[in-house]
């Protein structure tokens, strides 16, 4: 048996071992990579962001899946919830699957841990598991409170603060459905034509091809495709919604006219193309806040009483001011206070693991895709050389 015949008859267990290693190693050793964002993801992000800070706008997230598709869909759900909590967008959640109910709780709890001010019934509301999807989809077009009646905790919807200004799809103007199969079907067929509801989906990568016709026709305003879509959304949240300007005082939440000042910054294509965002999207652990001299002056001006402490922590490297947060002792932390400590931590641009899961997964997917391509090429090479030899010997 020559090498090409051996290649053709390679035991599949060897392939399994290579696949396992190709996935496990990049998951254990993350590296920085850039996930280029695509229009379907950007459109969804912009639509959600346009609701920021508005009392008369909300989004609905439909968790139409069970635990099997969570590795692909859960990071999308977490990224969108994080976006909403960062930018003060009202969120409603529901599921048509009994098995989807714990996923909603898990997603909300995962994100909420980092947002102590976010409250159920005020900033978000979970409808929980609801049977009879068709009836619900149509009923909410007339009146959400009458159709859903209570939330997952059994509270009357009409008594909840979040319902102020929210009646039907005119206000809850975007539904995002996450599914591993027929995502968005009912919303596109019934709610969009009848009530003008904007619909978007988050689907597993294998289902994306089925959704492209709706995307091109404009029936879907956006789509997150598998882990790649989730990674793109995570990046957008890091660059825009979770961005903190070192010179801005985030304790001021209203402007002179009483309008809310939102944290983060609005979407901008030119920002995405700027080299400076590289430091915002690193997925390796970051412990150093890197500021330009101007940013440092503006930041320290916000905390004049701690200027001495800041000066003792800073280091000048290549014209940039570096503050290593691991150098902050418990005494220093007490002295500077939690607000300043948290803001300094934010400025390191370190992203928590749960907010970069998709991007770490994309690294593994990169290696897995390359490996599958190598497998295809090797398999074909062996096949054709063997075929050529057989033909020559006949």
């Amino acid at each position: 048996m020559n090498i090409f015949e051996r290649m053709q008859k390679l035991d599949r267990r060897w392939i399994y071992i290579v696949v396992a290693l190709a996935i496990i190693i990049p998951l254990m050793i993350p590296y920085n990579s850039d996930n280029v964002t695509t229009p379907p993801t950007e459109n969804l992000y912009q639509m959600i962001d346009s609701f920021a800070g508005r009392e008369d706008r909300a989004i609905l997230m439909s968790f139409y899946h069970d635990a099997a598709t969570m590795p692909e869909l859960f990071p999308m759900e977490v990224a969108i919830l994080r976006h909403c909590f960062e930018r003060n967008v009202k969120v409603f959640t529901l599921t048509w699957f009994p098995a989807g109910a714990p996923i909603i709780d898990y997603a909300i709890n995962t994100v909420k841990e980092e947002f102590p001010d976010i409250q159920s019934g005020v900033d978000y509301c979970n409808f929980g598991y609801k049977p009879q999807a068709f009836a619900m989809v149509l009923g909410m077009g007339d009146n959400i409170a009458n159709t859903m009646n209570t939330d997952a905790e059994g509270r009357k919807l009409e008594n909840l603060e979040i319902m102020r200004g929210i009646n039907n799809y005119s206000e809850m103007n975007l539904a995002v459905e996450f599914s591993g199969s027929s995502a968005g079907g009912m919303w596109i067929t019934y709610a969009r034509p009848k009530y003008g509801l904007n619909v978007a989906v988050g689907v597993t990568a294998v289902m994306a091809a089925d959704m492209y016709p709706y995307l091109q026709s404009g029936q879907l305003i956006g789509m997150l495709t598998g882990l790649k879509g989730a990674a793109e959304y995570e990046k957008l949240v890091d660059v825009f919604a979770a961005y903190r300007d070192p010179s801005r005082d985030y304790n001021i939440v209203k402007d002179e006219d009483g309008n809310p000042i939102l944290p983060g910054r609005p979407f901008g294509r030119e920002i995405l193309e700027d080299e400076s965002i590289k430091k915002l999207i690193r997925i390796t652990t970051q412990t150093k806040a890197e500021l330009s001299p101007e940013e440092y002056i503006a930041f320290s001006a916000k905390y004049p009483e701690n200027r001495g402490l800041l000066n003792s922590l800073k280091k000048d490297v290549d014209g940039q001011v570096i503050i290593d947060v691991t150098q902050i002792t418990p005494e220093m932390r007490t002295q500077m206070g939690e607000t300043m400590y948290r803001e300094l931590n934010r400025l390191t641009r370190n992203t928590l693991y749960k907010f970069k899961v998709a991007r770490i997964g994309m690294n593994a997917q990169s290696v897995a895709h390359i490996m599958i391509i190598v497998f295809i090429i090797l398999g074909n090479l062996g096949y054709f050389i063997q075929k050529y030899r057989k033909a020559r010997n006949q």
Binding site: Y16, V36, A67, T69, A135, P213, M371, G379
Partner: protein
């Protein structure tokens, strides 16, 4: 009679929904839909759930009784069912309870593991079966490689044009075939629905 009554129920029920979909009349939208249909829909959903539980229980009890192949696994069904129900009913389904703990530490990893097996089968199939045996297979193979590369950060580093080419493949050839299939399915659904509404298609009643 055994077939006429169910047939009439289907025809009348189907026609009501057709009229409901096209008419904004108060009787249909408010009286029929909101006051009659919705309460019935909520009630029937609970019964559907009960029916599902009964059906599963009967199936697994029979398996154990008959000593059908792999009957031992049915005991796992009963054990999991009882434990999950008790955990939910007694401790609640909120974070910190046994139900959520089981969801996070048992159901989630097990389900994800099953789903992730796909990667191994795909890699094995790519190596063993994905051959450029014909011009059509070669086109498919090249398209697959381009789209796979364009999906990941490493591929974009190889060439900045890859995402554009990949998007073209998805938007043009992929969409053309998808639309063709969807139109076919749509027209087929309309034809079948009409045949059912007019009583021509009766195979769902069983028999001929």
């Amino acid at each position: 009679m055994k077939k006429t009554i169910p047939l009439l129920i289907v025809i009348v029920g189907g026609l009501i929904w057709v009229v409901w979909a096209f008419s904004p009349h108060y009787v249909l939208q408010e009286v029929f839909y909101n006051q009659f249909y919705l309460p019935w829909a909520y009630a029937s959903a609970s019964f559907a759930m009960l029916l599902g539980v009964l059906s599963l229980t009967m199936m697994h009890s029979n398996k154990i009784k008959m000593r059908a192949p792999k009957w031992q696994y049915s005991y796992f069904f009963f054990a999991s069912f009882v434990i999950t129900c008790l955990a939910g009913f007694i401790g609640g389904i909120q974070k910190g309870g046994l139900f959520m703990w089981m969801f996070e530490n048992v159901q989630m990893p097990m389900s994800a593991t099953m789903f992730s097996l796909l990667a191994f089968y795909m890699a094995s199939a790519a190596y063993k079966a994905f051959r450029a045996r014909s011009p059509e297979a070669t086109v498919l193979l090249i398209a697959a490689i381009v789209v796979m590369l364009a999906q990941v950060p490493l591929g974009v580093k190889l060439s900045k044009h890859l995402p554009t080419i990949s998007q073209w493949i998805l938007d043009v050839p992929n969409l053309a075939s998808k639309r063709g299939i969807m139109l076919g399915v749509g027209l087929g659904s309309v034809a079948t629905s009409l045949k059912i509404l007019l009583g021509i298609e009766r195979s769902y009643l069983g028999g001929d």
